[in-house]
Symmetry: C2
Subunit: 97 residues, 2 copies
Amino acid sequence: MDKMPEMEILFELADVFKVFGDSTRLRILYTLFEDEHSVGEIAESLQMEQSTISHQLRVLRTNKLVKIRRDGKQIYYSLDDDHVKKIIEMGLDHVLE
Amino acid sequence: MDKMPEMEILFELADVFKVFGDSTRLRILYTLFEDEHSVGEIAESLQMEQSTISHQLRVLRTNKLVKIRRDGKQIYYSLDDDHVKKIIEMGLDHVLE
DNA sequence: TTAACATATGAACAATTATTCATATGTTCA
DNA sequence: TGAACATATGAATAATTGTTCATATGTTAA
């Protein structure tokens, strides 16, 4: 173990970390820690443009960090991976020394 | 717990993940998983410019992921944090599903 | 001191990306 | 069907960033 992965895997790995490397996406993920939320709720909660949130949710979804549930006009997003919390907490451990 | 951190902390957190979000830096970290290595050794091993490696090592060092030990003309880099391996492994878990 | 070597650094460039604005798509209800 | 609402998307822009080249800094040994 700990052997260097193939280049293809390394690029994917870097891409995943890139997703965590933006404060807006981190805020969205934190918002979803507790419960699922609609796009509008997240935008309202973070005081950001609906468009911005939607764009970033797509990034999160493409990378399989969140999943969706449609209910009428709204689309509810929630965490789609057990690792998300743990990865963020590990990063936080590092930041907090 | 799981409460959203202050903005300042969120930016730091994002910055840490940004560091992991580059394949060159991931390769450098993997190289250091086993043992410490000099700048030249890493550049040779990864077949990249010495300058590129040096620049990226500075990023890693600034973010306290690697530390240095001077020995004559060479500077040996090694991992400076217990979390590094774990964070990368978590990310890998996600990538590998 | 000087030559040779190892590493660091600054400037420049290309590429990537987060946000905004405007608009499109899709859903509900009258 | 059409109006109102929720979300998605494309284009444009500004900002950030990884790499290279050239050169500077720092170390050793003669």
